[in-house]
């Protein structure tokens, strides 16, 4: 019946190779095959942004791709953001400082979106940040403290 396909990816600098069903979503591959459960699944139809990871540097919705489509790609997930265990990257630290998270479920996707955004736009204003953030849903914070966290991170980076 359903065959299996080989997927070779580098995730957060580590090589992985698996034989998977062609229909396996990339989000499920990351979470359940690789055990990297920091990437969360919120809607499985590409709206909420919780499952956002970076594929070759670009933020993408891992629920809208099959793992097979990611063959050969370099993937970054939230687990790879911090420089070392017990430390936080500047953006993560700013989220803590500004209370930019409550339940923390949407947070990994938001971090991966904003991490890519800030690399391309190191000095955004509030309107830029809100536009960049508008593809990620957060039901707890009302976004204000997330915006404040990003502004804080960019000020520290300046």
């Amino acid at each position: 019946m359903i065959g299996r396909v080989r997927v070779r990816v580098v995730v957060n600098g580590v090589r992985h190779e698996r034989e998977v069903e062609p229909r396996l979503l990339l989000s499920d591959f990351i979470r359940h095959e690789l055990g990297l459960t920091g990437t969360h699944v919120g809607c499985e139809h590409g709206v909420c942004g919780a499952c956002t990871v970076q594929l070759d540097g670009e933020p993408i919705r891992s629920c809208l791709m099959f793992a097979a489509q990611a063959d050969g790609a370099a993937i970054a997930t939230v687990e790879g953001l911090a420089p070392a265990p017990g430390e936080l990257a500047p953006l993560q630290a700013a989220f803590r400082e500004a209370h930019g998270l409550q339940c923390g479920y949407c947070t990994p996707g938001i971090l991966m979106t904003l991490d890519a955004f800030l690399k391309a736009h190191p000095h955004p204003d509030e309107a830029d940040i809100r536009a960049a953030l508008s593809g990620n849903l957060c039901r707890c914070t009302g976004y204000q403290h997330i915006v404040a966290a990003v502004l804080l991170a960019t000020r520290r980076n300046a």
């Binding site: 209370h99 923390g104 508008s134």
Partner: protein
């Protein structure tokens, strides 16, 4: 005792794990040999189950089991009634609770009829598609008013008119008040369905360890202790054999407390039968149909006022849609009934509601839990009265505030905690003043708005007030324990869904015991760690569990001082507790670390003195006599595009009073998050059902949650009126921000478009650009 941390914007203990992707949520649980469940659900809102054949699904590769209602045998029974009807004389209540799997007929779209358990979720869903179900569709009771008719199709065959409940509550003599009135204003208000939509859907993982005869369950519940007790009872186990863990939960907002959902009943049962762990994670589509909704109500309300705009009385008759079942009793409509009275002195009140069964997903509390509806009615009535009498909208509110010397203020009717509705403390006029000042009300009304109007722009202002009954009983408990390492653990029974309990409770303890926040480990939501409790709901976690934590910490402090006093052979009064140690005042090198004291208090030899207990540990319980009443004022300036009816919020101001604050940063986060949900509720989020009870917009692309572009920057200020009902003086804040969005939007948009002068009123929620356009285009007549 120093208060270094209480009241300070302490950064959260839990954030590091969550930010690093290391917070454990239910779907992150992975157990050896774990199976995965999927459900077959009814595609009809109302249909008789004519036949079901799971044989093809059972034969599918990788399928461990397929269960139908028949397979459950004696285990099949309706769920428990969580909240009984209130003790109000003459009330009617028809208890009809949800069932694990449809046996006779489906009563809403999405009701489960079979459960498939397989080696993966993918295989389980494949097999679910192979379960052959034969349905005989029945006439549907969909729209609330139609469902309430005597000849409507019956959701429950033995309940004519679909009457789930009927309750009348009165205060004073409304008829007499109406007789004396200068004006009586009558309106019809509608407040439609919404949904909580936490970013994490619900889920359950269960593992039966047959050797140890213990069941472990990980559940996205807000009330793990109640789940443990219920599961033990249903499965014939002792409570000690069942452990329920609510780990990190990705948002709760109320519906995650609707115990028992069918999956919560079935997944543990299947794990025991199959001898393997079983996981079920709700997908977003299932969430739209199977996790509880909130709130359609239709109010026929009238207000009697004197010539100065003082309220003489309010009468309200409303219908409440409770969906297909009513396990949560009458919490939502009771909240509406009670919260309508707001911060105002209403001498006479006559309120009657009928809760109606419909062929829709069941309705249980969602953030605000019906309070929105009551606030919408009174605030809109006041707007109508102000317009009628030519009064300023802020002024009519000020004239009707309960004065600060009238507290405790008794509203006489019965609240959701079944106690007479009573406000513990409050001072409302300063909140209004502050909000008007922050939003620039006077200047806007007298100068800016006329100037903008002259430019052809449509900019309006709104100001609304509300109260929120918070922090109700029955009780919560906490255990505080000093480890020999010097670290302090705090255990409570409530679950946590992002409210910062790991930090707020640590703050309470850190001050008492003179330790750092990072040295206090808070453990919530694990029934093996703390046995007793009710749950996280009704804005009660910080109030009820927080005060229990405070009590336990104070007791541990006393024990630490007593132990140290014995050690130093001095009086406890001569000791100082700080920096993780106890020292003799004025002799800082005469000190012993808390961890060493904990070891001293648990000796390996010798006798523990009679009347003392080992260890530095204490348990405390707190049960408030009634809820603490928080209050707030929201004000907004909004510009409306008269062509597209798109809005731009130019200013949004919140002034809130939740008594003493443990952590203002967390309070701010709670209010801001609430405001965003209130905005969604007011203008974007509507569950659209057709006349067959089908939900037409069950995706996040169609049910519009506000994004960072719809939610504006909010200016937030506080007033502080401590609650006399608890030692910390705190009031709950979880739901507050979400409550007044509806009337605020209606009032401000109406004002922007100049609708009241044309006799047009926005008397329904949610609004939307389309709906505002339709309403504004009507020729409602002139006044």
């Amino acid at each position: 005792m120093t208060t270094r941390f209480f009241g300070a914007p302490v950064r959260r203990n839990e954030d590091e794990r969550l930010l690093a992707g290391r917070g454990q949520f239910v779907d992150d649980i992975r157990l050896p040999g774990m199976l995965h469940a999927a459900f077959v659900r009814s595609p009809y809102a109302h249909a008789r189950l004519a036949g079901i054949d799971p044989s093809r699904a059972r034969a599918h590769p990788g399928v461990a089991a397929v269960y139908t209602a028949t397979d459950l045998g004696e285990y099949w029974r309706p769920g428990p009634l969580i909240v009984p009807p209130p003790p109000v004389a003459g009330s009617v209540f028809n208890e009809r609770t949800q069932v694990p799997l449809v046996k006779d007929k489906a009563r809403h779209v999405g009701e489960p009829v079979a459960m498939v358990v397989a080696e993966s979720r993918y295989l389980a869903e494949d097999a679910a598609a192979l379960v052959a179900v034969e349905w005989d569709p029945l006439p549907v009771a969909a729209a609330l008013e139609q469902a309430a008719r005597p000849d409507a199709p019956r959701v429950h065959d033995d309940v004519p008119g679909n009457v789930a409940a009927h309750v009348r509550q009165q205060k004073g003599d409304y008829a007499a008040a109406a007789n004396r009135a200068h004006r009586i204003i009558r309106r019809r208000y509608r407040y439609d369905h919404g949904a909580s939509m936490p970013m994490e859907t619900r889920g359950v993982v269960a593992d039966w360890d047959s050797a140890a005869a213990r069941l472990s369950v990980w559940d996205t519940t807000q009330a793990p202790i109640a789940i443990r007790n219920g599961l033990a009872e249903m499965l014939g186990l002792s409570e000690r054999q069942v452990r329920v863990v609510a780990p990190f939960i990705g948002g709760g907002f109320g519906p995650k407390i609707m115990l028992f959902y069918p999956d919560e009943v079935l997944v543990p049962w299947a794990a025991m039968r199959l001898g393997r762990p079983v996981k079920w994670i709700e997908d977003r589509a299932e969430h739209f149909f199977s996790t509880s909704h909130e709130r359609e109500q239709i109010h026929d309300a009238e207000i009697a006022v004197d010539a100065e705009g003082r309220i003489l009385g309010v009468r309200d008759v409303f219908l409440h849609d409770t969906g297909a079942y009513d396990p949560y009793g009458l919490t939502v409509p009771l909240n509406s009934q009670c919260t309508l009275l707001g911060p105002y002195h209403v001498p006479a009140y006559d309120s009657t509601f009928t809760a109606v069964f419909t062929n829709k997903t069941l309705v249980t509390p969602y953030r605000g839990a019906g309070r929105q509806h009551g606030v919408f009615v009174i605030e809109r009535l006041l707007d109508a009265a102000a317009h009628d009498l030519g009064l300023d909208r802020a002024e009519i509110r000020r004239r009707n505030f309960i004065p600060p010397n009238a507290f405790p203020y008794h509203n006489e009717i019965i609240y959701q905690d079944f106690e007479p509705l009573s406000y513990d403390s409050g001072d409302y006029a300063p909140m209004l003043d502050k909000a008007l000042d922050l939003v620039g009300y006077g200047r806007f009304v007298t100068e800016e708005q006329p100037a903008l109007r002259a430019q052809g722009r449509h900019v309006g202002i709104g100001v609304v007030c509300y109260v929120e009954g918070t922090g109700i009983g029955p009780y919560e408990g906490a255990k505080v324990q000093v480890q020999t390492s010097g670290k302090v653990s705090v255990l409570t029974g409530i679950g946590t869904q992002g409210q910062g309990h790991f930090t707020a409770f640590a703050q309470v303890v850190a001050d008492q015991l003179g330790v750092e926040i990072a040295d206090v480990e808070v453990i919530t939501g694990d029934t093996d760690q703390f046995y007793w409790g009710a749950g996280t709901f009704a804005s009660r976690g910080a109030v009820v569990a927080g005060n229990a934590v405070h009590g336990a910490a104070a007791a541990v402090r006393a024990k630490a001082l007593a132990t140290a006093a014995k050690h130093f052979e001095c009086a406890p009064e001569d000791l100082v507790i700080e920096d993780g140690k106890v020292s003799v005042a004025g002799v800082p090198d005469h000190a012993i670390r808390l961890g060493a004291l904990a070891a001293l208090a648990n000796p390996m030899r010798g006798a523990v003195a009679p009347g003392t207990e080992p260890g530095l540990e204490a348990v405390s319980y707190f049960g408030p006599e009634s809820g603490a009443t928080a209050a707030g004022v929201h004000a907004m300036i909004v510009e409306v595009d008269p062509e597209s009816m798109q809005i731009e919020i130019r200013k949004y101001v919140v002034v809130h009073d939740c008594g003493t604050m443990i952590n203002p940063l967390i309070v701010e986060g709670q209010v801001l998050g609430g405001v965003a949900q209130g905005i969604g509720n007011a203008f974007y989020e509507k569950l659209a059902f057709d006349d067959q009870g089908q939900l037409l917009n069950a995706t996040l692309a169609d049910y519009l949650l506000p994004t960072a572009l719809e939610v504006p920057h909010v200016e937030l200020a506080h007033t502080v009126t401590p609650s006399p009902l608890n030692p910390l003086g705190i009031k709950g804040v979880g739901e507050a921000g979400a409550i007044p969005g509806g009337p605020l939007f209606a009032q401000a948009i109406e004002d922007a478009l100049g609708l009241p002068a044309r006799g047009i009123h926005l008397d329904e929620i949610p609004l939307s650009p389309c709906r505002v356009w339709e309403l504004a285009a009507t020729n409602a007549g002139t006044e």
